[in-house]
Structure formats: C-alpha cells, structure tokens
Symmetry: C3
C-alpha cells in the first residue's frame, strides 16, 4: 500500500491536464439553465468535449459512453430529474465516473430529496459549498438547518464522514477548498475572489471535475488526484485571468471587471499550461484521521 | 402626505444603489432560457444575490424568503408557468415585492393568458415595452391588436390606467422610459441604443427592478422610487459601458460592438458608483393626472 | 432555365446581407438550452430580429408569422419536441422557410426519431456535421452506425441524395463546408478553427440560415443561395474576429483566445460589410451530377 500522502498534487495536476488534452474526454453534462453555455465553453477551452444530454431515454445510454458525467441540480425540472437518475444508473453500469453538484440542497425541498437519492447511487465525487455538503451529509448535521455561513473548517468532519459513507471524493468550495476521500484531505489555496462574481463559476468547476475524472481513467491517478487537479487547474487559470500581467492577485483588488474576467477565464483555460500548474499550485495534504481526532 | 413630486430621483437612485450593495438582496428569478446567464451576472455585478428557482414545489416557498422576485414570461414552459403562479402566491403571502415582465404578451396566446392572470395577483411592478403593456392593460386597448410601433407617449394613459387598476408601478421601456404608479410619472432619458443589440437587455433590467425593490424594503423609499432607481442605475451603467472614455454617448455612433458592449455592461454594473448615478441621472417627473387631462 | 452554375455566390451573399439588414427578418428559434443566448446575440448582431418561441400552443402560429424558423434538436425536452412539430406544420402552411439542425442525430435515440420525422415534413434546409447528415439520410448509410470521423467528401453523395429526396438544401459543416440542393454543390473554404472552440458556433449558423432564408423571400435569390450566403457571411465575420489586424488567419495560430473570440465574433457579425463579403468569399461551385458520376 502506498503512503497516503506520497502524491505530489502539483505534479499529478499538471500531468492530468496534459492527459486531458491528449484524450479529449467526452463530458456528459446534466446541468442548470443558467450555466450551460459557460460550462460548455469552459470544457471546450480546457480541451474536453462537452455534451448536454438531459432528457429521459437518452441520458442513461449516453452516460455509458461518456468519459465523465456531471449531474448539477441547479434548475432540476422534472425531465432533468428523471434524466439524472437514468444517467446515474447508466454511469454505474458502465463504470463512468460521475460528479454530483447538489446546488442549493438543504434550502429547497425538491432538489434536496433528489440530491440525497443521487448521493446514495455511487457518485465518484460530490462538490458543493459548505451548506450543500452539510445538507447532503444529512444525519451528520443532526437535523439542524443548513447555514450558508458555515465555514470550510467546521464542515470538514462532515465532509470526511460523507466521503467515508458514500465512497465519493467530497469537495467543499470556499476561499480555501477542502477535498477529501475520507482518508486524505487536500486544501487548495488557489483562486481569486472574482470567481464569486461570475455565475456558474462553481458549476463549471463541477464539469471540469467530470472531465478530469474522465482523463484520469487508466492513468495511474485516482479520483482524489483528479478532483484535486480539476480544482488546481481551474483556479490557476482563474488567477491568470484575474491578473492582466500574470502576477499573483492574492489579497489585492482585481484589475478587471467581472464581465471581462469571465471572458478572460475562458481564454486562460485554453492557454494554461502544465508548467503554469506546477509553478502555481498551492495544495496542502494531511491524513483525514488526524483531523477526526482534532475535531472529536 | 408628502408632495408627490418632492422626491429627488437622482438622489434616491444613488442612495438605493448604496443600500443594495449593503444589503445584497436575494433576488429570485423565474426567467426565460435565453437570458438566465446574463441576468444572473448582471445581478451579481450590481451587488445582489441571484437565484433561479423555477420549478413547482420550490418556487412558492423561495419567493417567501427572497428579497425580491422576477417573473419573466419569455419562454414559459409548463413547469415555469406553475412555478410562476406558486411564486406569486408565495410572494404575496410573505410581502415579498415582485416584478412581472410579460414578454411578448399580446402576440402569443399561452403567455398572454398567464400574463393577465399574474397581473391580477398583485405584482409590485410590471415592466415591458409599449406593446406588452397595452396587451396586459387589455380593456384599455379596446380589443385592438397590439402594435410594436406604439410609442411610449401613446401608451402613457394605458400605463397610468394599468397602474391604478393593479396597484403596480408600471414601467414602459423605450428610448425614453416611462414609469408610473398611477399618481406620478417619471421619464428617464438615460441609456444607449446599444442596449437594443444585446439580448436580454430588458430582461436583466426586470431582474434589477426586483433587486432594487428588495433593497428598498424598510428604506423609506417606495416602490416607485425603487423602479426608477433600477432604470437610472442600469442605464447609467450602460452609458459608461458604451463609451470607452466615459463621455456621454447620446446621439453619437457607439464606439464598441455589441459583443464587447455586453461584457463591458457587466463590468460597468460592478463599477458604477452612487456619484456616477447622481451626476448622470436624467429623470423628469410630473403628476399623472396632468397627463390624464392632456390625453382625455 | 438558367444555367445552374450561373450564380455568383460572392455577389449574392453580399446582396442578401444587405437585404437582411434592410428587412430585419423575424427569426423564430426553437433551439437548445446551451446556445440560446449566443444565438440570439448573433441574430441581433447580423441585423435580424430573434424570438425564442418553443412551447406548444404558441410555436405553430408564430412559425406562420415569422420570416424564418430554426428547429435545433440539441436539448429536445418533450415540450420542445411538440413545439417543433407544431412549428414545422405552421411553417409549411404559411410558406415560412425553415431549417432543421439535427444535433447529435444518430447517436441518441429520442432526437434521431424526431429528426427523421421532421426531415420528412418539408424543411427548406438541413444543416449538420457529416455524422448528423448521414444519420438523417438514413437508408443511404445502409444501416451502419454514424461515424464522427466521416469526412465531408465521403458524405457528399448522401448529402445530394438527402437533398433530392427531401427537397431541402443540405449543408454539411466542416473545415470546408459542403452545400447542395441536389443539383448544385457549393464548397465554402472560409472560417477559422476557432469556431470549433466556441459552443454553439454551428448552432448559431443554423439560426443565421433561417434569417437569410427569411431575407431571401421575394428577393430573386433562391434557398440555395441563401444557405450559401449565411455560411459565407458567418465565416467571413469569424475570420475578421479571429484576426486582430483583419488579415487572413488561414493556417496560422489564432491570436485570440476562445472567450475573446466569441465576443469578437458578435462584434464582427455587426460590423461585417457587403464589401467584406464580396472580397473574402471563397466558394467553389459544381454540378451535383458530376459528383454522382465520380462517386458511382
């Protein structure tokens, strides 16, 4: 058994970016009506092949031939909900890795029920903000209402628990992202506050996770590394987009407006190199059990 | 009772912009599939928090917790129509201000019926072009078909009548916008023809109205002032976006193409200041009865 | 009977662009959720008037008053499928020209059935990539599965056959586009590889075809010339967008990223002139029978 912390996330992220561009994973998206266009352009820019297939009768079989699948519950109309279930079944049967993004779970009843159902169907990864992860984790939150102000750190034990119970890699988005497979925790400090000013910034990341999971198949990298890679690459590209001259933007006022930033982000996803990723990745790794002891 | 004309729209618009940014109103959108992304980005840029919640079983309860609600009938699929009714009921019960944007009412039968139904459910504001307002006003138009070439001025009596019958603030978009609460009329001369070259330019304005109505709650400003403020702020931002050097663009050829303008508009909604609004607002106020006499 | 090859596509394309801007054809779109915004902005930029009307009860009557109609099957939810059938009937009854874009036909079962049904309902034009055209042609492909790597040239006989059987102008998109009405073939060498990095690049072209078909009514130009014109104008605009200084970009590395390119494409659709089109059009014409002999 290899050392849990022996992975080099900067290296594996750069490697998986290159592999994604070599293999052009077909990335099946079932996502919300606000972000379809931005999501598809982000996937094309990074080097994947997007396809929005979100009706019953098609989603199941397509999940079987896709390289990776995203199920995002942002605007879950009835046909999309049926398609999502069908796709989850199809992905499982075919071994296609898939991502659940339970947008606004815990706040809105219809999608919360669907999110809990889908979380039990074997997603490869679950991505959300702290409140959404708490809502999907459910019993761990002890029935209290979700709280949009929950911090990343306070949700860490729930994220580890959710990962251990579902077998999914769980990713919690925030100023510092937390990613865990129940054994390991990665904290990623890349990114820019401008991402919070573009609608679908997180939704597009969910799609990139699906693409990186597709790229990681038969690569020697596991799902944890793929989810970390998606975050690192996306957020390094965001840093490049936020900063006209390419310097770090941490802690400084953005030099571009949010409209311009969204356009530059697509450019940067296309331009970002494996060398950029290696040079800029800010990932900290630890064992999940250590955290469990601290929080007990 | 305060003087009907005593409001200072440049001042109240600037004030409400600041208040919106301080309070970040949760803005519930039920809108058409063409403009969801642009609308959400416009709301984020101005400082509001957008949420697209457009399925039955969720829209009603969410309208109750939102700061403001937009119901736009641009692509009214069946679930959206049900969600819109549910949201109107939920908004009324909770006192959430809401905006009806009856896109293409009068031309297309399904949405015309829904628009008339929703108009009778107590919207806080109704926004449309001249033809749409005539269609919703209905009896006032005397059964004649709507006419896309109806001028703003010719529709003024119908707008006043609609406002008086429904209790809504009625906003008619055009080169000069007309806004009335049935007692007062405001005419707003800000803006740029480039707005007509960006799809969803009017739809995003509808969403901003919902956000400004949310910001105006408990502010001392009324719904009329909030609707005026949304127009002034949006159109001042559009002027800044249309003009690379920031000069007035009135009557001159735009210096930017429509693709670039749309991006710059998002930037400008983020950058526009209360001082910009105070300095550039072009609002003319009068009593509605004066108009009624003139047009009688 | 006029000489089949006597048309001057550079001239007629420039002429139809001018006519489109003079007549502002109302362009009815039933299209997928990924590209609605980009499509509407492309139509506005070129000078048409877009309207997304995609629900049953409205689509049929609206197809009767529109100048041109697009039916794109990218995300064919149930209401859209019903609306598409209704619109095809309405268009036929009113003589409105219409375009079928059978996105992913041949790969996904629900849309493939709908595409075959719609193809038999008298579309004025059918636009797709090689695999999609083979799938719609159906019997010609002899039951073998579609192959995304099918080259434009290998699909030419099937395109001619499909045009002859349906009466539609058939357009096959690729590095060189092939357009045929069953008698003539045009090959168009304009464009830029950047178009493949923007989602909806082909879908927006489908909408422009509908607009150009609308502009061509009563113009003396036929549907074949209108479909050629839409391709030439769109791809000349794309060349201008891809090249900051306006030079040809053929065979060189693009100077702009895909996000910036998409914005510049909208700008260029607005700015492109009839003179640009005349000067840059790269169209080669031949008789279809000649091809049939070669391939027999």
């Amino acid at each position: 058994m290899r050392d849990r912390l022996s992975i080099d996330p900067a290296h594996s992220s750069a490697q998986l970016l290159q592999r994604l561009r070599d293999t052009v994973p077909l990335t099946h998206c079932i996502t919300n009506s606000v972000v379809t266009n931005f999501t598809a352009n982000a996937l094309l820019a990074i080097g994947a092949s997007p396809a929005m297939v979100d009706i019953p009768g098609e989603a199941g079989m397509f999940a079987g031939i896709a390289g990776g699948l995203l199920v995002n519950l942002g605007t879950p109309a009835q046909e999309q909900r049926e398609a999502a279930r069908e796709a989850a079944v199809g992905a499982k049967a075919a071994g296609t890795p898939w991502v659940l993004d339970p947008v606004a779970a815990g706040v809105l009843p219809v999608r919360t029920a669907v999110a809990l159902e889908l979380a039990s169907m074997g997603p490869t990864a679950i991505r959300g903000n702290a409140s959404e992860i708490l809502a999907v984790e459910g019993s761990g939150a002890g029935g209290r209402g979700v709280d949009a102000s929950d911090s990343i750190e306070s949700v860490a034990p729930a994220a580890v628990d959710l990962a251990q119970r579902t077998g999914a890699v769980v990713a919690v988005s925030g100023a510092v992202d937390l990613i865990t497979d129940g054994r390991r925790i990665a904290r990623i400090a890349n990114g820019t506050p401008l991402l919070t000013l573009v609608t679908g910034g997180g939704c597009a990341l969910g799609a990139l996770i699906a693409a990186f999971l597709g790229a990681a198949r038969d690569s020697g990298c596991d799902a944890f590394e793929a989810v970390v890679a998606a975050h690192v690459v996306y957020e390094v590209a965001a840093e490049l987009a936020a900063s006209p001259a390419g310097q770090s933007t941490a802690g400084r006022t953005p030099a571009v407006g949010p409209g311009t930033f969204a356009v530059r982000l697509i450019d940067a996803l296309h331009a970002v190199t494996a060398a950029d990723v290696s040079a800029r990745a800010q990932v900290r790794l630890e064992d999940a059990p250590a955290l469990a002891e601290v929080s007990a």
